[in-house]
Symmetry: C2
Subunit: 219 residues, 2 copies
């Protein structure tokens, strides 16, 4: 059955996110020279749930080898295929402020299936510069042309909230179908465009939730 | 029953994250002058699942009013209490590079229950400066003293991967019990310290998963 399943068929958004976490863990294991791993060992090492791992991977056929666990390289390849990460995706970042610059050089944003083509900004003082890692900052006006020429598939919005909807519309018109928004604004995407928002405050609130629970126990 | 439940009791990490999402939606509704909302209307406006909303909120007693929905201000207060967000938490950010500077001024990181006290860096060229929003950059050597004096409860790590474990140990020794790590490194926290990692690549991979699925449909 392995590999027979089409990418993404019947997989929920949450399952896909967990598969990404497994993929990252498998990459770490492979880098450390580990060739096979059990769901238990993987769960312990990376703070995951072993029953959930088995359940998630059971959907995709028989990856595991009884008594040995998963073959790290095989499982990594399978998940890569399932997530549609087999070919490189070109990414543009709009907004060359601190956040855009940080994202341009963020480990992972520019590796393993992703290639950041350019940053865009409307500040003439920034245009012509580069991120520390070498990503060029281009003029916003060149965005539609460059996005089409480079066949950029993904745009990351790192612009102020007030400009975000306008920028979303611009990149959508330029043919980009997947957008990751860091601006704290509720945006509306046209049909056929996938828009995901990153809300970093949720991460802080989640920490407080755990802190509050710990304080409760110690009271 | 409403309000009788202790903060965090028997709530899973995932439920807590969804509650944060509801809280953000309720803040948006309140800012727009909306006073009551049904689970359906909330789900439609913010792209959520109405059955999940009802299920999540049912655990906390009877918030809803039949035929009216939830009273926005009340539900917001309840969730704020459940998540332990009733008092301000002081946050320090370690690393005053692009990412640290961006986070210091990130809307939400410095509002609604959170106050960023300082950035810390060991680069003398950065020490003495400020983020655009005015957060001061202090010397790493002053971190233990300032963290204790200010009673900082949360540290955000925005340092290179190679330095992250050392910085985690330093902030833990300074008495900080909750740490949000942006460095792409697997870190080990001492018992009693909650460590959460933000992996932004998962967000990109999730976009690709949806792109690949859409491409499959259109093939």
């Amino acid at each position: 059955m392995a590999g027979a399943r089409r990418p993404g068929a019947e997989i929920s958004d949450l399952t896909a996110k967990r598969l990404s976490v497994y993929l990252r863990s498998l990459e770490d294991l492979q880098a450390a020279g580990v060739t096979t791993v059990s769901s238990q060992a993987m769960a312990e090492k990376f703070g995951l749930n072993s029953a959930q791992i088995r359940k998630d991977l059971a959907c995709f056929g028989e990856f595991g080898v009884r008594g040995v666990g998963y073959v790290v390289a095989d499982l990594k390849d399978q998940i890569t295929r399932i997530l549609g990460l087999t070919r490189d995706r070109k990414v543009i970042i709009v907004g060359a402020g601190n956040l855009g610059m940080a994202l341009a050089d963020y480990a992972g944003f520019n590796a393993g299936g992703f290639r950041i083509v350019a940053l865009f900004d409307n500040d003439r003082g920034k245009v012509g510069g580069r991120s520390r890692g070498g990503v060029p900052v281009l003029d916003m006006e060149a965005l539609p042309q460059i996005a089409r020429r480079e066949k950029a598939g993904i745009a990351v919005l790192a612009v102020p909230a007030a400009a975000a909807q306008k920028v979303l519309d611009l990149v959508s018109r330029a043919g980009i179908k997947a957008i990751l928004n860091f601006a704290p604004a509720q945006l509306k995407a046209r049909p056929g465009v996938t828009l995901k928002a990153v809300d970093l405050k949720i991460q802080l609130e989640n920490l407080v939730f755990h802190l509050a629970r710990a304080e409760e126990v110690h009271r």
